[in-house]
């Protein structure tokens, strides 16, 4: 029993750390982009103030029960994703609830938040929210294909579905990382990551200029502050998941910060270089070459590598 209490305590510590880290990372990127454009840019603490601002709004109208629950589901998706990912390998405090089969659970939780959000925005009754949901879910279904194929390749490669064991198998040398032992799976997964990050070219679901930010159009006040918090936690959790699966995990906080920042920069750099795909272009893209790379990674690990 005591173990569970301490585990839950450590989990909330992890949530706090990932929340702060996710917000700072977003601010850091915004600041960097501002500097590139010759601006001073936002203060580094601006995301915290924005969350507090939405939280201190004194009026909040509701569109119904599902509308109220939507942001809660979204936050539950982010918290659930983080709950089963070991943040730092080999450290009891940062191992969360990682156990056998957690990778499957994490993949489910990545989907769960989006579906909850779809229900919530659906009840808001705003046509742009419905359009955003349609675009977002179509794109998500498409990028899940290469990502799932990459994860299947990892299942075969390490013969386990526990993230902790997958990280353990990559320890010892940089050449043990999945990046080098199974590069095809990493390529497929990193392309899927671009879709997950919702930066250009895959940001059509939240296109602010044509469908005013899509699904969250009607969300405001504390609903919005919950979604802002989830955005930071979910982004952090996804980065940590990719680091664990493909880049050898982290054994310390500095390694964690450096690796997750580097993975995040992939999405930023691609986003800075490419214009936005339309939905059907994005779906065709994911179901084309990335899917073939995913299949190739499964065949490679099944028949050649072993």
């Amino acid at each position: 029993m005591d173990i569970w209490i301490s585990k839950i305590g450590y989990y909330f510590l992890n949530v706090g750390i990932v929340l702060v880290y996710g917000l700072l990372l977003g601010a850091f990127i915004a600041k960097t982009m501002a500097r590139v454009q010759g601006r001073i840019g936002i203060p580094i603490y601006q995301p915290f103030i924005d969350i507090l601002k939405t939280f201190t709004k004194r009026q909040a109208i509701s569109h119904g029960i599902m509308f109220n629950l939507g942001p809660a589901f979204r936050l539950a998706g982010g918290l659930g994703t983080l709950a089963f990912i070991p943040v730092i390998y080999g450290n009891e405090m940062f191992s969360n609830f990682s156990a056998a089969g957690d990778l499957l659970l994490v993949m489910y939780f990545i989907f769960f938040g989006q579906l909850g959000m779809a229900l919530g925005s659906g009840e808001s009754g705003h046509p742009y929210a419905a359009m955003g949901i349609g675009r977002g879910l179509a794109q998500m279904t498409a990028y899940e294909v290469p990502f799932t194929l990459a994860v299947v390749a990892i299942f075969i490669q390490y013969d386990t579905s526990s993230i902790t064991e997958i990280v353990a198998a990559q320890q010892g040398s940089i050449w043990n990382w999945t990046l080098f032992t199974n590069p095809l799976a990493v390529i497929a997964a990193m392309i899927a990551f671009l879709g997950m990050a919702a930066y250009p070219p895959f940001d059509v679901a939240m296109a602010p200029n044509e469908i005013p930010i899509g699904p969250p159009t009607e969300f405001h006040s504390h609903f919005l502050s919950m979604m802002q918090m989830n955005r930071a936690i979910f982004a952090g959790a996804k980065l940590i998941l990719f680091m664990n699966l493909f880049f050898g995990g982290a054994t310390g906080l500095i390694e964690l910060v450096f690796k997750t920042w580097a993975i995040y920069m992939v999405a930023i750099l691609v986003g800075a270089a490419f214009p936005r795909f339309r939905t059907e272009q994005a779906v065709r893209f994911f179901l084309g070459v990335p899917m073939l790379i995913g299949i190739a990674s499964v065949l490679y690990i099944q028949y050649w590598a072993q």
């Binding site: 601006r39 840019g41 601006q46 709004k57 004194r58």
Partner: protein
Amino acid sequence: MTDKNDYPTLANADLIDAERSLFCDARPVPYEPYPVDFVEKFANWVRANSLWVLAFGTGCGAIELNPLMTSRFDANRYGIQMRPTPRQSCVIVVAGYSSVKTLKRIIRSYEQMQGPKFVLGLGICSLNGGMYWDSYNTIKRIDQYIPIDLYVTGCMPRPEALLAGFIELKDKIKAGQCDGTNRYVKDFDWYKANQKKVIKNWDMPDYNW
């Protein structure tokens, strides 16, 4: 002015019967400040440092809003950013003249914003009509229709003036002087009567929740 308790619900008299049930008929209620003074002061500081402006160009002055986000003026560093939806915005800039047609959209957008919300009048036209003082379809004094917190006058004011206006608005919010949201609720019937006097085709509910 009619006492609020006499009419607990709005009549929505200008809607057709089939549509009346689709809209909320509750009157807007004022919001209470936080009971602890320190918390309210902190909340005001937070609100002042995160101004989300509704990206809605209501008149010719909207052209002065866009440069604020560019490298030359960089309003981002003051915590100002554009939001595409009124639900998430807290500042609406009435930029220059507003025709009767636009006023209807301004009211709809303003009422959909969640309080505390602030209004900034940009240009002399929003203050007294400016060069449109004798126009038949232009609103002369916008503060008779929605409560204004701050004016930036000129024709047209340059982006620097608008930025200075935003900074002054921040100071007013920090001092707790921007009570437009509650003023609108308190004098709701007066504002509504003024609005209905000029907008002839009022095919919307009395309050856009």
